[in-house]
């Protein structure tokens, strides 16, 4: 009587058995990794290379019959010398920096306050994180109504507090309020996300460190700056990285709130890029635009990640 393993080995056709037996560990590893690499190449790398190629042409995706010309660096030159695009970049930077500032300050403060034991702590945390569970489309429409000059709650409250007639100004219209209005909405929606990450950071600090500081008679203020802040900093930086990348490509919520207007006051780079690519159909030009944005985000993110690693190593 033969054992089952021997029987199975005998049943395996000789060439196949030899092939599998002959594979090195490295080859087997490649065999397992290959499908993922193939997908990565097909879905990420190939489109990127194709986009780079298109960025040097005048290709328009809606004009299949038009001859595609190689235009060299003309698309890049046009973009980098276009005042309108630089203005959009400034609008994006304004949105990015102020949302990050408010979200970090408010998010950290909320986390610090909530990181204590009190009755209703869990319920309060759940209520605070509600906005980030909503769809950006819902948030955009919802805040459009809140900002409506005649029936909106925001204008009504301003009138109640200041006496300024509600219908005399528009938060999403001309007057310079629109860039701040979108910052308010993004902050309202995403501060809970920063708060949660900070909360995770705060709760990861072992109690014995604070106890040791207490024994050394360190003040609460000193404990905060020498223990809490340094130990939460990597978490905070991670939150800034996530929110920074998300807000650099912010699209849906702002389109619903202002559509980039009034004029170009809230025209973020991502909205402008979409218009160039899928409304004006300047595929070559928008490919160059996308590459410039990609390099910008990639470059900034790389520098930031290095800084984050240094902070973590401390």
């Amino acid at each position: 009587m033969t054992d089952p393993i021997t029987a199975a080995a005998r049943a395996t056709p000789a060439p196949v058995a030899r092939r599998i037996r002959g594979l090195s560990d490295r080859a087997i590893a490649w065999l397992f990794v290959a499908p993922t690499i193939f997908l990565l190449l097909a879905i990420n790398i190939f489109p990127l290379i194709w986009t780079i190629r298109l960025s040097f042409t005048n290709y328009a995706a809606n004009r299949p019959n038009r001859e595609v010309e190689w235009v060299g660096l003309r698309n890049y030159e046009r973009i980098l010398t276009d005042d309108g695009i630089w203005a959009n970049m400034q609008t994006t930077a304004h949105f990015l920096l102020w949302t990050l500032f408010f979200q970090v300050v408010i998010g950290f403060t909320l986390a610090w306050l909530i990181n204590r034991k009190f009755k209703g702590n869990d319920l309060l945390t759940t209520l605070i994180v509600l906005p980030m569970m909503l769809s950006p489309a819902v948030v955009g429409n919802f805040w459009t109504f809140l900002y409506q000059p005649q029936i909106g709650l925001v204008n009504y409250v301003v009138e109640l507090v200041s006496g300024i007639p509600a219908s005399s100004f528009s938060m999403l219209g001309p007057g310079g309020y629109a860039p701040w209005s979108i910052i308010i909405v993004d902050t309202w929606m995403w501060t809970p996300f920063v708060m949660l990450i900070c909360l995770a950071g705060l709760r990861s600090i072992p109690d014995y460190i604070y106890e040791a500081a207490e024994i050394d008679r360190a003040s609460k203020w000193r404990q905060f700056w020498t223990i809490t802040v340094p130990m939460v900093l990597p978490f905070l930086m991670l939150a800034v990285l996530f929110r920074g990348i998300e807000n650099f490509k912010m699209f849906d919520m702002v389109v619903l709130l202002t559509g980039g207007g009034p004029g170009n006051e809230t025209l973020l780079a991502s909205i402008d890029l979409k218009r160039e690519a899928f409304e004006k159909w300047r595929t070559g030009y928008s490919s160059a635009y996308a590459i410039i944005l990609f390099v910008t985000v990639f470059g900034l993110a790389s520098i930031y990640v290095k800084a984050l690693n240094k902070v973590k190593e401390r």
Partner: protein, 438 residues
């Protein structure tokens, strides 16, 4: 034996069903989601009954219509067999081979373009413009017009106050400047205990709104796209003193005669403002007028209509569409049969009676036409002086450039009208240079 019999019966039934489907088949007609589309669904039931072809419809809301449909055509999709596409698309659709050229079909079926209003044939069917190369059958005539609260205009106290202020009776404006005065007169006025405003106009930034609205003023002042048609010579035409004055007028109308927060408004917002009793006047496409007239709260004897007032010339912004056969259809015979059926004068008469704006002379030249609806006469008058935006293959770039320039000046208060129009020429020149036309 029993099993064999059942199999034979099943095969016969399947075969019969397949044959029936092949004879009739299905068609999908794509259009924007609005009142006339609903009327077309009803009208098309006659075609279904006659032909045995089942009609499906794909209606997309206006703000997404161009994006959705142009993507569909561009990707070679087979969603639509028939498309009622915007007039500006015809250049691109013809050059890219998205629409079937219909000359041979029209000749074979005896469909004559002479039977349709010339302005609609020019705008909705031909490419290159004005040449006898037809890519669509005029389906839905339309222009931008105005409507107002007739009941408010008729109130003696309002009449008296207006006459005292302007020295004339409050009536439908005959010029753009009269329109502005009326809008300013109603702005912030208390009527029935409610604050009302002058007019709702188009200010939308994202798609085509502010261009369609502002061109109502620009055309009325005599705005031209080129000094000589086909020359792309825009300097002095696009930024003429009349064009500058017209654009300044539109901004003044926006600033002094529209409801608060009205900075990104198009068709829907205009309708809402009027139906909710916020405004005395509103601009919108004639296509909506049957629905407005039928509205139980603000329609009937409370509403009346007028054509876009002239200033230097009588002119209106063209809307409307032609019906085209999508080249990629897998039911070409069915699609052409639908066009043939739709071109029939009797069908066109029914189309008008159901709320569609026929472009057929059998309808428009009927002596009784102006009595068929309170806006019928205005529609005829408007269609006599319509002007359209560029219909170039690069129309989307041209349109978005104008949207940006106009919105920046009118709504966002940036720069002057002269700078906006000079900038527009620079933008358009760049597009035409890229196109190899300059």
């Amino acid at each position: 034996m029993k099993i064999r019999l059942m199999a034979a019966v099943s095969a016969a039934a399947l075969s019969a069903a397949t044959m029936a489907q092949a004879q009739g088949g299905e068609l999908t007609l794509c259009w924007a989601a609005w009142d006339p589309a609903n009327a077309l669904v009803e009208l098309s039931k006659d075609f279904e009954a006659q032909s045995g072809i089942k009609m499906n419809f794909e209606f997309v809301p206006w703000p997404n219509f161009a994006d959705r449909m142009l993507n569909e055509l561009n990707s070679g999709g087979q969603l639509c067999d028939l498309l009622i596409g915007d007039s500006q698309w015809i250049g691109g659709a013809a050059e890219n081979g998205w629409y079937v050229k219909m000359n041979d079909f029209f000749d074979a079926e005896g469909i004559s373009m002479d039977d349709f209003a010339p302005a609609t044939v020019y705008a909705y069917s031909t490419w290159p413009k004005g040449t006898p190369n037809y890519y669509a059958l005029p389906a839905m005539g339309d222009a931008n017009g105005w409507f107002y609260r007739k009941d408010w205009f008729a109130r003696p106290e309002i009449q008296a106050e207006f006459k005292e202020k302007y020295g004339r009776d409050l009536a439908e404006p005959q010029t753009q400047k009269e329109l502005l005065e009326i809008a300013q007169f109603f702005q912030g006025r208390e009527i029935d205990g409610k604050t009302v405003y002058g007019a709702s106009i188009f200010t939308e930034r994202g798609s085509e709104g502010i261009t369609m609205g502002a061109t109502g003023a620009l055309y009325a002042w005599g705005f031209k796209y080129e000094n000589t048609p086909g020359s792309y010579d825009m300097q002095g035409a696009v930024n003429s003193p009349e064009a500058v004055e017209a654009l300044e007028f539109y901004k003044e109308l926006y600033k002094t005669g529209t409801p608060p927060g009205y900075d990104n408004a198009y068709m829907e917002q205009s309708l809402d403002a009027f139906k909710s009793g916020q405004v005395a006047m509103a601009m919108n496409w004639f296509a909506f007028f049957p629905g407005l007239y039928a509205d139980p709260n603000t329609g009937g004897d409370k509403i009346d209509f007028f054509v876009n007032p002239a200033q230097n010339v009588a002119a209106s912004t063209l809307g409307g569409q032609g019906i085209s056969v999508v080249a990629n259809t897998d039911n070409m015979d069915g699609a052409l049969a639908y066009v043939k059926w739709f071109a029939n004068p009797d069908v066109q008469k029914k189309w008008w009676s159901m709320g569609g704006y026929s472009c057929h002379k059998a309808v428009l030249e009927d002596p009784n036409f102006v009595n068929t609806a309170p806006f019928a006469g205005d529609f005829l008058q408007a269609m006599g002086g319509v002007q359209d935006f560029w219909q170039e293959p690069a129309y989307a770039q041209l349109l978005l450039a104008m949207q940006e320039r106009l919105h920046n000046f009118v709504v966002a208060d940036q720069g002057t009208a002269q700078e906006a129009l000079d900038g527009l020429i620079a933008d358009w020149t760049e597009v035409f240079e890229d196109e190899g036309k300059l």
